[in-house]
């Protein structure tokens, strides 16, 4: 049962009526009775919200920051339905619309559109549809809710996509499609071709030159069909907010750029998100499927407040990689976690694969270390310096163990990781 502003207005008019016309108990009774009777009649005449039939259609997934459109089809088999309809979603689904106005004649169907701009990654489920059917007099009505399930998945935004073209261009240079193919651009023998003035004389294949009678050059190209395993640490280290997003989101962004680049370079990419259990797992999808499957798998991964168990990570990676591969570990450079948990178990991984550890550095630490105007800030600077020194020491330890470390702030981590990948490829280390 609901009342409207009109009922309130009527009751307010009743006050004037009692004051001026009937200042007695009878007057009060007349006013109360009038409002009650009119409301009751209106409620009885209002269409039933429970008898409306709903179905949905529209977007199932949307990239974070973009708009999804979900339609609600309302069929009215009963009396003419007039009133308000609210399509309720969780706050982070970012519903833009105010409650819809509803006016469906008997037996007809209407389409109501809800626009969503999700504010967080992950699945957003519609909660319920509430209909307030107002009677023909507009004084009162009935209200009821129905569940019309629908899920919109907010996918990671992949903001670092803008860095992809420049890295692809560099990749093509490596590949030999744009520049001259000479030694140093890769280690895999590609083909022989005629010497052109300007080529590196060290690349001349003298045996073939003798056979052919003119000068022939050996060309090289980067390895193809290598495996890249991207491992995202979803433990407590990735819950920390750096800038405006958690480490985890920056790590996903970097992982997506690397995956896109490696796929175009002809490598096979797989993905693992893991803390004390595996949260997302994509094994060697088809090249055209890499980004969609990664984005889908990562959509619902949230940082867990547990210490990542690197034993699980290592055994999972070893289990799915056969040949020598590149293992990219996206985690935080936290001395305690890395030294106690990762270093003791990383041995088998290092023996068989190339390990690259990427960490998102916090620009706030640089800020802290630079400002030293009062005592509080000096202590802050000392603490930040200690943190940086610890990280540098850890980086040195990891490098000695054979791990390549990339430690960059959020806006640079994705391109830096891509560049490191290209550098490794160029050096023939894959």
């Amino acid at each position: 049962m609901v009342l409207t502003g009109r009922a309130g207005l009527l009751a307010a008019a009743g006050v004037v009526f009692v004051a001026l016309v009937m200042p007695s108990w009878a007057g009060v009774g007349v006013v109360v009775g009038a409002v009650l009777v009119i409301s009751l009649v209106d409620i009885l005449l209002a269409g039933s919200p429970r008898r409306l039939q709903f179905s949905r259609e529209g977007d199932n997934a949307v990239r974070l920051g973009e708009q999804a459109v979900v339609n609600l089809l309302v069929t009215n088999p009963g009396r003419r339905g007039r009133g308000l309809l609210r399509d309720a979603w969780p706050p982070s689904a970012g519903v833009l619309d105010r409650p819809h106005k509803l006016d469906i004649p008997s037996g007809e169907r209407r389409r109501l559109t809800t626009h969503l701009v999700p504010t967080r990654r992950g699945d957003r489920q519609s909660v319920r549809v509430t209909v307030r059917a107002i009677g023909p007099l507009g004084f009162a009505g009935r209200q009821g809710s129905q569940q019309v399930p629908w899920t919109v998945r907010a996918l990671p935004p992949f903001k670092s996509r803008k860095h992809l073209p420049s890295r692809l261009a560099r990749l093509r240079e490596l590949d030999g499609r744009t520049a001259l193919l000479v030694r140093g651009q890769g280690t895999e023998f590609d083909s022989l071709r005629d010497y052109v003035p300007g080529d590196d004389v060290r690349s001349i294949d003298w045996r073939a030159t003798a056979r052919r009678g003119n000068v022939v050059l050996r060309t090289w190209r980067p390895e193809r069909d290598r495996q890249v395993a991207i491992v995202i640490d979803s433990g407590r280290l990735s819950a920390g907010r750096v800038g405006d997003a958690p480490r985890l989101d920056h790590a996903m962004d970097a992982a997506l750029l690397l995956a896109a680049l490696a796929t175009r370079a002809g490598d096979r990419v797989s993905l693992l998100a893991c803390d004390s259990a595996v949260r997302a797992d994509v094994r060697r999808p088809a090249p055209e499927d890499v980004l969609p499957s990664f984005v889908n798998a990562l959509a619902n991964v949230e940082a867990e407040l547990v210490q990542t168990d690197f034993r699980i990570v290592v055994s999972q990676v070893l289990e799915r990689l056969g040949q020598r591969s590149l293992v990219v570990l996206l985690t935080g450079l936290d001395p305690a976690a890395i030294e106690e948990s990762l270093l003791p178990v990383i041995g088998p991984l290092l023996r068989r694969h190339v390990v690259l550890l990427a960490s998102i550095a916090d620009p706030r630490l640089t800020e802290l270390e630079a400002s030293r105007t009062d005592l509080v800030e000096v202590y802050g600077a000392a603490s930040a310096a200690r943190t940086r020194l610890d990280r540098e020491r850890l980086t040195a330890t990891l490098s000695r163990a054979g791990v390549t470390v990339v430690d960059e702030p959020p806006d640079k981590i994705a391109p830096a990781l891509a560049d490191t990948y290209l550098a490794l490829k160029k050096a023939g280390r894959l």
Binding site: V129, T130, Q146, L368, L375, Y379
Partner: protein
Amino acid sequence: MSTSVGRDAVETWRALRTPLLVTALVVLAAIGVLIATSARTSGPFSPDSTKSDGARALAALLENHNVAVHSTESLDDAVKSGDGKALLVGPSGALDDSDWQEIANARWSHLILIRPSTRALTALAPGVSLSGDSVTSRSREPGCDLPAAVKAGTVTVSGPTYIAPENAVTCYGDGVHNTVVQLHVGDQTVDVIGTPLSFTNDQLADDGNAALALNLIGTHQDLTWYLPQWESTGADSPDGNSPPLIPPAVRYIGWALAFAVLVVAIWRGRRLGPVVAERLPVIVHAAETTEGRARLYRRSRARDRAAAALRESALGQLHKAHGIPRRADPSAVVATVAARTGRDPAMLYELLYGLPPLSDAALMSLSQQLDVLTQEVRHP
């Protein structure tokens, strides 16, 4: 595709039983408090009040003299039949003409009016009127042959005085302006007393106050002590002395207004569907541990640790900038940096490898000097 969502009777009862129970408890408690306090009166000249302006002393005195005192604030008690009994009307409150008339019709054998208003005088003591003169506190001789006053002797009086008709007995005045007036209306004795302060806990022991009070008030075995409140049962007569301040229909308007407020509350209060809750992920500031450690340093005044971190950081930058090997000897580092920057080697040594600072000021200056040194390295 869609499922209806609603509450059945059992769920509704479950959701409502706690609020209902709380409401019931509150109502019961309110009723209990009302019952516990209903038999009591309070305020000035109350027979239950022990404050200096109360009259507990007088009530106790009367009860010692076998007078049963019934204190009340309800008009109903004052208008019931009072034959053979005495009614004392206190100085507070406001009643309208019809209420006073009803009290007059109740036929009390003895009426004691403490500082009555004009309306009370008109209804209960015809002929007596306010003189407009009032006396400030002073002792006075009775100056009359009223037995009660003669026995009491000197009495402290203050407050308004009254002009009495011929047939009345007047005391404690100059013959025109009197504080105590006694007259007989039919078989009813009416005492008009203009000095309520004399009978309060504060002044009852002074002069002959207590004796006068006992002799005047304690004439009947049954005394109803009525303190009028701001209540009225009927509308004022149209020819009343003062115009009504509020329209007579105000209570009906109030009820209609309350109903309108209820309707508006229901209109505004009903939400369009429930509030949607959401599980939020845990997000912490990544620099939180570093900032926490900074606070720890500061609270425990760990100047040595802070200085060590700052020095190590500065040394790292100097090593990098000047190409000094990582494990170089302190003296070699100082010599290289001194050669590049032209600073005094002894002071450089003190700055980079000296003792930890002993005061906050020393730590501040150390940090600033290290900052200057590394700035030079970065921008030579």
